[in-house]
C-alpha cells in the first residue's frame, strides 16, 4: 500500500487520456554530460520510491568530467526500473529512452526494448551535432527507427517558450530542458510533480528565477504529454507490496557510510575513516565527512598506502577503523593490510570494485578483485572477505564486517562494486534500538595480559595505548606465540601461521548456513556473489516459473565459505557460477570442493542482464520446458 497522494488524483482528473496499468517499467534518460541526466534520473527515482514503487537504478556515466560536448564519449545515462512488485535489477532493456542529443541516441538505442517509446530532442539533431555523434545522416529523417514508437519533440524550443516569462537568457533557459523531459515522463507514467517541485525550490531557492524556470519547464513537459496528439496512452505502475516499514532510497555508497557510522555507534567508539579519493568509492568519503556529530574522524590521506596505514594505527589506538578504495588503490594497500593481519588488529577495507586491470574502467563495474581480496598479499595471509549483494545490503554488510573484525581481531575485506555503489534501491530503515550492540572488551588487567594470548575464538586481546600497565610492542615481524616478542624460531613461525589461519577459519561459526533459493537438490544450481544477485535471482525466478529445474545460491561470505556449501554443490548435477570476471569464484569452488562447476563470465564494465543468465540456463537445460 503506497500513499495515494492528492497530486496523484489531481493529475488523473486533469487527464483525458486513457491509462493502462502495468506491473513494471524502465526508463533510460540519456544526454550529454552537462545535460543533467543523473539529476532527472534521481528525481524520477525519488518520486517513484516515495510513491511506493520498488525501484532499482543504474547510473552510467563517463570517466571524463566533461568530454567534448555532443560526442559519443560524453554520453551520460541513468536507467530507473520501477515496479508494483519486488524487483532486483534496473531492467535489461528500457521501455522508454529519452535521448537529449544524437550521441545519446546512438549510444543508448541498443538499450531500448523493441517497440519501446523513444523520445528525442529533435532540436539537437543539427548537422554539427550529428557529425559529433558520427552520424552521416539524420536518423529522424529515415525509417531506421520504425521499430520504436518515435516521438520527435522540440524539447529545447518548447522549454525556451515555457520559461520565457522568467527573463532568463537563452543559455540558462535552455538548461531547464532536462526538467521538461522529466515532466513529460511524469505525465507518461502518471507521477506526481510535487516532490520534484519541492526539491527544485530547496535546491535553487536562492535563485528564484532559476527555481521558477525549472518548475515551469517541468510543468510544460507534463502538459505537452497531455496536449500532444502523438501521445495517446499513459501508464500506471501501482505501489509495490513491500514489507511494512519506513523506507528511503539509498545508493550502495551511501549505505556503506550509514553502515559504518552505525557500527561505530553500536560499538560505542569513534569511527576513523582514512581514505584517498578514488572512483567509484569517493562518495563514501564525502558522506562520512559530513557526519562529524557522530565523532566520525575522516582522514583524507596523501595516498592509498597512507590511508591504510593510518587505519592500522587508528585500530591500534582503539577506534573502529575503516578505509574505502577501488581496485588500483586496493593493490597499493595490500602490504599494509598484511601488517594488519600480522598485528591482528581489527579494521575493514571496502573495495568498490571497478573494471581493471590497472586504471581500467574507472566508472564501470566488475567483480575481478575477488582473488586480490582473498590472495592478494605476500606470505600466508588469510582474512575474512564478505560481499554486499544490493545497494541497501551494503548497510548490513558494513555492520557485519565490523562485528567480525573486532570479534576475531582481524582486518576484513568488504567487496562492493561500481554498480552497487552508484545504483539505488529502497532501504527498509531499521530502528536503531533494535540493532544488536557490538560488544568489545579491552583488557585492563596487567597480571594476566599477554599480547598474543588467544581466546576461544582464536583472537588475541585488543589492548589499547593509554591502558595502565599493558605496554607492549607489536609490528610486522613474526612474534612469539602468547608473549609477542620478536621471534624467528622455525617452529614458532609454523605455529603462528597456523593460528592465524585457524582464527580466520573460525569465522565460519558466525556465518549462517548457505541458503538455496529453490529445491535443495536437482539439475542445476546457479551460484553467484556480490552485486550480481539481482540479475541472477531474477533469472532463476523466471526459469523456475517456466518449470526449469534450477536453484540459486548467492554467497555472502567468500572467505571462509559457509560450512554447508560443499554439500549443497554436490546435491546438484550441474553448477553454474555467474561472475563479472573470468572465473575467480569458479576456480575457488573447484579447488575447495572438487566440483566440476562451469562459469558464465562477463567483463564489459556492465552488470549482467537477466537475459544473459536466462540464455545460459536455457543452453544448459536444453531449452525451456513446454
Amino acid at each position: 500500500m503506497g500513499p495515494a497522494t492528492s497530486t496523484d488524483v489531481d493529475s488523473n482528473q486533469r487527464s483525458t487520456k486513457p491509462i493502462k496499468e502495468i506491473p513494471q517499467a524502465a526508463i533510460r534518460f540519456a544526454g550529454d554530460s552537462g545535460d543533467g541526466m543523473q539529476l532527472v534520473g534521481s528525481q524520477f527515482t525519488a518520486t517513484s520510491a516515495v510513491y511506493g514503487n520498488d525501484v532499482a537504478t543504474f547510473p552510467d556515466y563517463p570517466a571524463e568530467i566533461r568530454a567534448p560536448m555532443g560526442t559519443l564519449a560524453g554520453v551520460s545515462g541513468f536507467q530507473v526500473n520501477f515496479a508494483s512488485r519486488n524487483i532486483h535489477t534496473p531492467g535489461d532493456r528500457a521501455d522508454v529512452l529519452v535521448a537529449m542529443n544524437p550521441a545519446a541516441l546512438k549510444v543508448c538505442l541498443n538499450d531500448l526494448a523493441e517497440g519501446g517509446i523513444l523520445i528525442v530532442n529533435s532540436d539537437e539533431f543539427t548537422p554539427s551535432n550529428l557529425q559529433r555523434a558520427q552520424y552521416d545522416h539524420n536518423p529522424l529523417e529515415t525509417n531506421e527507427l520504425s521499430r520504436y514508437q518515435l516521438h520527435s519533440v522540440p524539447i529545447t524550443q518548447n522549454t525556451l517558450e515555457a520559461v520565457a516569462s522568467t527573463g532568463l537568457g537563452p543559455k540558462e533557459a535552455s538548461r531547464c530542458k532536462n526538467f521538461y523531459a522529466l515532466g513529460l515522463t511524469y505525465w507518461l507514467y502518471d507521477r506526481p510533480l510535487e516532490p520534484t517541485i519541492r526539491w527544485i525550490n530547496s535546491k535553487f531557492g536562492r535563485v528564484p528565477a532559476v527555481a521558477r524556470a525549472n518548475t515551469l519547464a517541468l510543468q510544460a513537459g507534463y502538459e505537452f504529454g497531455e496536449k500532444s496528439a502523438a501521445f495517446k496512452l499513459r501508464y500506471r505502475v501501482r505501489p509495490a507490496d513491500l514489507p511494512p516499514g519506513t523506507y528511503r532510497n539509498v545508493t550502495g555508497n551511501q549505505a556503506v557510510a550509514l553502515g559504518f557510522i552505525t557500527a561505530a555507534q553500536l560499538a560505542g567508539k569513534p569511527l576513523f575513516y582514512g581514505s584517498y579519493p578514488i572512483t567509484p568509492a569517493s562518495e563514501i568519503l564525502h558522506e562520512l565527512s559530513g557526519e562529524k556529530r557522530f565523532d566520525v574522524r575522516v582522514f583524507q590521506a596523501e595516498d592509498e598506502i597512507a590511508a591504510m596505514c593510518a587505519v592500522v594505527g587508528a585500530a591500534f589506538a582503539g577506534a573502529i577503523a575503516v578505509t574505502g578504495t577501488s581496485g588500483p588503490g586496493m593493490a597499493l594497500k595490500q602490504e599494509a593490510i598484511g601488517l594488519a593481519v600480522m598485528t591482528e588488529l581489527p579494521c575493514v577495507i571496502v573495495n568498490v570494485q571497478r573494471g581493471g586491470p590497472s586504471t581500467g574502467l574507472p566508472t564501470k563495474t566488475e567483480q575481478a578483485d575477488l582473488w586480490q581480496a582473498i590472495m592478494g598479499r605476500n606470505g600466508e595471509c588469510p582474512l575474512p572477505v564478505i560481499a554486499a549483494r544490493s545497494p541497501a545490503d551494503c548497510f548490513w554488510t558494513a555492520i557485519e564486517a565490523t562485528r567480525v573484525a573486532v570479534k576475531y581481531m582481524t582486518p576484513v575485506i568488504m567487496l562492493s562494486d561500481g554498480f552497487l555503489a552508484m545504483s539505488s534501491e529502497p532501504w527498509r530503515i531499521p530502528e536503531a534500538g533494535e540493532l544488536k550492540p557490538i560488544e568489545i572488551r579491552h583488557p585492563t588487567d596487567p597480571s594476566t595480559f599477554h599480547p598474543y594470548a588467544r581466546n576461544e575464538h582464536g583472537a588475541r586481546p585488543w589492548a589499547i595505548p593509554g591502558t595502565p600497565g599493558l605496554r607492549h610492542r607489536i609490528g610486522g615481524l613474526e612474534k612469539s606465540d602468547v608473549y609477542g616478542t620478536v621471534s624467528y624460531a622455525p617452529a614458532n613461525h609454523q605455529r603462528m601461521v597456523t593460528l592465524r589461519a585457524r582464527k580466520v577459519a573460525n569465522v565460519v561459526q558466525d556465518i549462517p548456513d548457505q541458503e538455496v533459493f529453490g529445491a535443495p537438490q536437482g539439475e542445476l544450481l546457479v551460484v553467484s556473489w556480490g552485486g550480481t544477485f539481482g540479475a541472477v535471482r531474477t533469472a532463476v525466478e523466471r526459469a523456475r516459473e517456466t518449470g526449469q529445474d534450477v536453484a540459486h545460491a548467492h554467497l555472502r561470505w567468500l572467505n571462509p565459505l559457509p560450512a554447508n556449501l560443499g554439500d549443497i554443490l554436490r546435491n546438484f548435477r550441474r553448477v553454474l557460477v555467474c561472475e563479472l570476471n573470468m572465473g575467480q569464484l569458479l576456480l575457488l569452488l573447484r579447488a575447495h570442493y572438487l566440483v566440476s562447476a562451469i562459469g558464465l563470465h562477463k567483463v564489459q564494465g556492465r552488470p549482467f542482464m537477466v537475459s544473459d543468465i536466462t540464455d545460459k540456463i536455457d543452453e544448459l537445460l536444453g531449452g525451456r520446458s513446454p
Partner: protein, 338 residues
Amino acid sequence: MSTKPESCELTAKDFKTDQQVKWCAGCGDHSILTQLQKVLASKKADRDHTVFVSGIGCSSRFPYYMDTYGFHGIHGRAPAIATGVKCANPELDVWVVTGDGDALSIGGNHFIHAIRRNIGIKIILFNNQIYGLTKGQYSPTTEFGTRTRSSPFGAIDHPLHPISVAIGTEVTFVARTVDMDVQHLQYVLERAAAHKGTAFVEVFQNCAVYNNNAYAWATDRQTKHEHILYLEHGKPLIFGTNRDKGIRLNGDEPEVVSLAEVSPDDLVIHDEKARDPSMAFRLSRMYHPEFPVPLGVFRAIEKPTYEELMMDQIAQVRAKQGLGSLDELFLAGDTWKV
C-alpha cells in the same frame, strides 16, 4: 599491579625493555636510545600514554627497546601509522623513529604530508647517509660520488637535505643534533618533546659498519667547533674553537667572517620564531666544509595541530547539531511508509 597512573618517579631504566638491544657496537643508535630514555624520564612522561612508531631499517627497531606502547610498522609508513594513532587518541604522546632511507626515500610522501598537516607527532630521523639493514647501499642523503655497495663507481644521485625538505613543507619545529654530543642531543629532544604539532629532529648518526666516520668532522673533539655552529635563539651566529668567527649576510648569501674584522652586531641573529622561514632555510643550506653546519633548533613556531583542528570541528558541529542519533540519521531525506 596498579591500574592507577604511574608515579612520576621514573628513571631512564624504567623506559628500558627486557629485549636485548641488537644494534652493532659503535652504532650511534645506542646513544640516541639512552638519551631519549633519559629525556622521557626527566620530563616525567607517562609510559602508558606514550607510543613509539617506526618503519623499517636499523633505527626502526627502536620501539622494541622502549618500555612504552610500540608499533614496528612497514617501510616508510611510520608517519601514516602514527597519524592514525594520534587521530584515534589525541591524548597519546606519539613518537616516530625513522632513518634516511625510511623517511626520505620509500616514505618521502608520508614524511612531507605529516609535516604539512602539523599532526602532533615527533619524528626523529637517524641520518647515517647509508642503508644499513640491507647492508650498505647509498641512501637519499648519501653524498654525491660516494662509493657504496650499490654505487661502486660513485653515487650519481644528488642527496636531499632533510631540514630543507622539512622547512619547504612548512614544518613548525625543526632541529638538528649529533649522536655523540650527549648534552646537545638531550637538549634538542627535550625541545622536541615539548613542541605541539610536528617536531622534526635530524640526528647525525654514525653507522660504524657501512659509513663509519661520516660525521667525524662534527664529532671530533679537537676540531669540531671549526665545523659546527650551535644555534641559539636571539643570539648572533658565532662559532670556532675560539669563538672567533661568525656568519654575516652578504646580500642574500651567508658568509663566514672573522670577528677580528667584523663586529658581532653585524652578524645574523638567530630567530627560531620567525614566521618567514627564509632565514631558517638559508641556514639549512650551509654545508660542510664550506660552512660550519648549524646544530640546534632552526625553527619553532606555533600553529594549530591537525588533531586539534579535527577534534574542534567535531566539537563545533556537535555544539550546533547535537550528538547524532542513529534514528535521525536513518530518517534523513525523503522517506515513505509502507
